[in-house]
Subunit: 424 residues, 2 copies
């Protein structure tokens, strides 16, 4: 890797972010009538009309605009956009009676699903902390802290540790099975780590630090595979591995068979998730001021599994998922996994100095810019064939939105920039 | 056991409670000058002058007076006494800045130890819930709920489950070793079960029910011995058994060697504690409306260990402690263990119908009334030789106080009364 190559990659990302990605959103997402954001767009970038505002999409949008503003983009306009989102989030999605944010409203702001889902609450903490860090508006951190307190009171399992995920409006734990009340997941805990990191960055309170350290302990000691260091998606309450099922309240767009079961439900791991976990852990350690060497074994395993088994050296990008030992199950390409491995492979290259991480980065970088970006409108195709032909074609819906794509560009640019300084 | 014998025992307890025990306290404990209670008395019942008001002694006093009032004693005077204690507890021992109750003040109400000790907070929840149940004064349950929320936020270990115990004023976890920050104990968890039971009895809130069920799960699955069903005093954070040590902030009057270590620090269990645990569990199940049959195996083991190994059939009473398998280490007699097994043996007799529990009850009953009660002043000797001669002679100090003795009389009378109805 030469300075020229580095510069060229940096330029490509910068151009995509400034000329394509951010304009896609700033020109169409504000709901001037009802407040908050419109988050459903088809392949042409037209409003596809779904009558919903999800907690995930609203909070991820706030994160996107606040973090891009904090990174120096938008000249103030993105901070205003974030503020517009926070007004809706606090004003319309907050439950004044029981506390916490509702899961779903329609576009007019009427609550259509009043459940309290930890995944969504974690994004509220994440975006509201980021928002205060970016703008100084203290409303953000006030609500972030309140949600943190609610999770400690209602969501923790004081028998086995960790957090339950699925609650009714009044924070009563939901039932077993697809209701989700008898399971714990990698997803929720990883996003709590992400959220508590930014919460702690904003408050520097010792309780936020301690709970961040505790969730890191859980992830590294119980949730990641003891041999392979890869993520295990679902557990029973007592941390025995549970077969991966689809929940009634979904937050992602994972593919399941028609009966809601994964093909290899008990030996399944996602390449992009593992790399996302590893770079989020690295970031947490930076904020905590803990040397990353303490977690080298975990980091190495999570990064290496994706490079060794997940990268498609023939057609580019990373596959969807496979076994912990290495067999690939699903060779299609999901947008968010590409977004996360861009950041993660650059981190891996920085801390391990191994050229194959740069090659993996380059590979995915090319796949993203040549295949995944729908350049005519500016956002990314959500799912493609192994070769890069779109399978799903929406530019956004309640779960896709812009957190992965914009964060990937902002964070990758920062990392390429840092590498450029070092390589001078 | 005949109706006459039952009646005779009932009368003896009633006479002791009404004529000796309650008057001991009502005539001397009120601090009219500074508020709260004086809780240090020598063997003659004279104020022994120690300049301290401990969270334990103040909260246990409130519990004693409130619960005795709820049980029908005192004609209103005990409720007034409880109110006097609550005024001091809330007015002087509450930390307005960080929340929670301070560990120690002097008699004038100046804070001398501002640490937040979970053991003490659990007694605050217990007594304040009991106080509201007894008097209807909602200040009690308001503070009880707030302390519950603080414990969920600051004291839980979200990695391994359970509660840490030792915190600085601002709820920063204390360090390892004798500071206690790296250990978990049977004591704290058992008293949290006791506290959450009365909290739930008062509020009937589902979160209080759930956290009570979780702590019961912890106790029965991790804290009680997997084979013997007996209590293991101390654990490391990850629930590995830890050698029993003396903490810097002590709450009891346990005997240790001069270096603060127990003789059999890793194979040690207390007969009275096990029986106290079992009857508190039974009581929790009653409040939860869960049939006690669900926990029969646990209950049987905890009760049977004390009867099989702890009862001194020669000199009366129960010994201090021994191994889980049965060997007795310490044949002296502690007051609180006698108090707790009276209640527990009556419960065991009721649910198992086994005559040996009655015999054990009778044995301890006689030992208490013939040896342990200092009839000339009305309270119990804290520690005697195996034969029943006093070793320690104070009638009260910060850790002894009246919760064990008065509760034992109130609860045993209720149980004897219920047996009398059945035996008619």
């Amino acid at each position: 890797m030469t300075k020229e190559i580095l510069h060229q990659h940096l330029q490509e990302l910068h151009t995509h972010l400034i000329d394509e990605l951010l304009p896609f959103w700033t020109t169409r997402t504000i709901d001037e009538v009802n407040g908050g954001f419109v988050t459903h767009f088809d392949q042409y970038g037209n409003d596809s009309g779904e009558d919903e505002k999800s907690l995930i999409a609203q909070t991820r949008s706030i994160y996107t605009y606040a973090s891009a503003h904090r990174a120096g983009y938008g000249g103030g306009a993105l901070a205003e956009l974030a503020r517009h989102g926070v007004d809706y989030l606090i004003g319309t999605m907050w439950d004044e009676e029981y506390g916490g944010f509702y899961w779903m409203t329609n576009r007019r702001g009427e609550v259509t699903n009043d459940q309290k889902i930890v995944y969504g609450q974690s994004f509220a903490i994440y975006c509201l902390s980021e928002y205060t860090l970016a703008t100084g508006d203290l409303r953000g951190i006030k609500y972030a802290r309140t949600v943190f307190d609610l999770l400690q009171k209602y969501a923790t399992d004081t028998t086995h540790g960790g957090y339950f995920e699925m609650f009714l409006r009044d924070w009563t734990l939901k039932g077993p099975g697809s209701a989700g009340g008898d399971r714990k997941t990698l997803d929720a805990h990883m996003h709590l780590m992400e959220a508590f990191t930014t919460l702690y960055e904003c408050t520097r309170q010792s309780i936020h630090r301690r709970k961040l350290l505790e969730v890191i302990d859980l992830l590294t000691k119980k949730i990641m595979h003891p041999v392979y260091g890869t993520g295990i998606p679902q557990f029973w309450t007592d941390w025995q591995v549970a077969p991966q099922i689809k929940f009634d309240v979904i937050w992602g767009w994972d593919r399941f068979t028609n009966d809601g079961v994964k093909r290899a439900a008990e030996d399944n791991t996602s390449y992009g998730h593992n790399v996302e976990f590893a770079w989020l852990l690295l970031h947490a350690l930076t904020i905590l001021e803990i040397p990353h060497e303490v977690y080298h074994d975990q980091l190495r395993k999570s990064f290496a599994h994706a490079v060794d088994h997940g990268v498609d050296w023939k057609f580019g990008g990373v596959f969807v998922e496979g076994s912990h030992a290495g067999e690939v199950y699903d060779r299609e390409k999901e947008f968010w996994q590409q977004a996360e491995v861009l950041i993660g492979f650059l981190d891996a290259y920085r801390i391990f100095g191994d050229e194959r991480y740069w090659q993996a980065y380059e590979n995915v970088h090319r796949f993203v810019l040549d295949k995944l970006v729908n350049h005519s409108v500016g956002e990314w195709w959500p799912l493609t064939t192994r070769q890069g032909d779109p399978i799903w074609t929406h530019m956004s819906h309640s779960w896709k939105i812009n957190y992965h794509t914009v964060r990937s560009m902002v964070q990758s640019i920062q990392r390429l920039d840092a590498l450029r300084v070092i390589s001078r």
